[in-house]
Amino acid sequence: MSTLIQPPSPGLRAPAAEAFLRFENVSKVYPTAKGPYPVLDGIDLSIHEGEFMCVIGHSGCGKSTLLNMVSGFSTPSDGRVVLHGNTITKPGPDRMVVFQGYALLPWFTAYENVYLAVDSVKPDLPAHEKKEITREHLAMVGLTDAADKKILQLSGGMKQRVAIARALAIRPEVLILDEPFGALDAITKEELQEELLTIWNTQRCTVLMITHDIDEALFLADRLVMMTNGPAAKIGEIMDIQFPRPRNREEIMEDPLYYSLRNQALDFLYSRFAHDDVE
């Protein structure tokens, strides 16, 4: 177990490959009526290709802002976010987002929602291939039977499955999930975590995911970024989670390492950076 206090400089971890996605001294300041409000301050972070990274922190610590700068919906006030050596300036399908509120189009069916994404991103593919990709990804999340249902007829868990299928169907390099399972019941949540891991194991895209749930992060992530409290939030700690993959929830939970990591995260969130607004 190697825990790094304070974000390392890119060279410290000595990654085998050149950093794939990099935050370079990123700050974000929002202008408000009471003057500038700094949300994030001096974020340095390198993410490797194919890495599953979770971000945790109390509300208001700028987690969403951090990820929005990867998706391109927000741009840094200072510093830059670099993917493949190119500075990110606007949204694009190489950095697909699973939105907090699903953001599915309710006038379409599950199938049509996924197809629309595939068709928008790869309009030149032959129609039968686009259909095949759509069906394949709906099948991955177990929605073959519900494919022709309107979004309004689907439960929360099924909507989230459609959103994940839509996101993965366009084969993004980076998948961004903003608290994807926060609104789901415990059982559906565990099912979806497992499905997400299964699919991710086949595609191995880079994943950035915001969560409030330490157990979720420990089950899913390679590394967990823990944010200090805002304003001017920084990266407090980055925790390595080196359970072997493919992971099995029961096996992980029997590992003594699990509890030491869990306690370390709890200590960070509820002792060292405790928040009035306890979640």
């Binding site: 919906f73 939105f99 953001a103 379409f108 928008s120 991103v121």
Partner: protein
């Protein structure tokens, strides 16, 4: 008079029982309308009001003929109520269609471009407060001719709810949907057909439904002051000038019925096109 309770003897056959069970739905409106007509009948018979009694619509020869023969055509303006209505409806159809096309197009534009909205909103807010009747002289000056003037009056009356609701519908497209379009880098055309129109459709239909009622109100006003036009509005005005009060009453009932049918038609269309939204 409408018989209110003659169908409710205590028989026990099943259609009658069904009637009794569902009576909560149809009985109150029936009693309300029946009561109103009864009151009117009594006030007229006692000569407390100058209007003829509702029963006189059937007893008086002129109005009875109009009710019984809606399709007669003796040339000129002397035509049955059906032809009068069709003349008015065709004007409404032309003005309303024009209003829908222009209103939706302009509404989408100002919904998407806040700057254009800021430029024109005061003007639109001002123009929509001008009563249909006030447009009539302007329309006559502009077009020098009854028919296009009437269509213009309908157009200018009906366009505002369509325009304003469409713009609101476009502004109300959830940010999430816009973000999806952004991250997928949808073409403008795709965004328009797959996101914008379906999302704004309930608002557009609300505008269309308000406007069909307004258009129908406007045509009557426009026709009344345009002498010599075939149409239900001028029919009433003509009856007034010749002191056929029964015909006025019949015309008003007819107008109300047509307006109600138009409104229901739009409501039905709305449920067909955007169900569950």
């Amino acid at each position: 008079m409408v018989p209110t309770s003659s169908r409710r003897p205590g028989a026990s056959s099943s259609p009658l029982r069904w009637l009794a069970r569902s009576s909560g739905n149809w009985l109150p409106p029936l009693l309300g309308i029946g009561g109103f007509l009864l009151l009117w009948q009594i006030l007229s018979s006692l000569q407390l009001i100058a209007l003829p009694a509702p029963s006189s619509l059937f007893t008086e020869e002129r109005t009875r003929n109009l009710i019984l023969y809606p399709f007669y055509d003796r040339g000129g303006l002397d035509k049955g109520l059906f032809w009068q209505t069709m003349a008015s409806l065709s004007r409404v159809a032309q003005g309303y269609t024009l209003a829908a096309l222009v209103g939706i197009a302009v509404g989408i534009t100002i919904g998407l471009k806040p700057a254009i909205n800021r430029a024109f909103d005061p003007l639109f807010q001002f123009l929509r407060m001008v009563a249909p009747l006030a447009w009539v002289p302007i329309a006559l000056v502009l077009f020098q001719n009854n028919q296009p003037a009437a269509i213009f009056v309908i157009f200018i009356t009906a366009i505002w709810p369509i325009l304003i609701n469409t713009a609101e519908g476009v502004r109300q497209i959830p940010q999430d949907y816009r973000n999806v379009a952004l991250v997928l880098q949808m073409s403008n055309r795709r965004f328009f057909t797959k996101v914008l129109i379906p999302s704004a459709l309930p608002y557009i239909f609300t505008g269309l439904r308000i406007s069909i009622g307004l258009a129908w109100l406007a045509i009557i006003a426009a026709e009344i002051v345009m002498p010599g036009t075939l149409g239900i509005g001028f029919f009433i005005w003509d009856a007034y000038q010749q002191n056929y009060v029964g015909e006025i009453v019949l015309g008003v009932i007819w107008i109300g019925a047509i307006g109600l049918i138009l409104d229901r038609l739009m409501a039905w269309l709305q449920t067909r096109i955007s169900p569950g939204q």
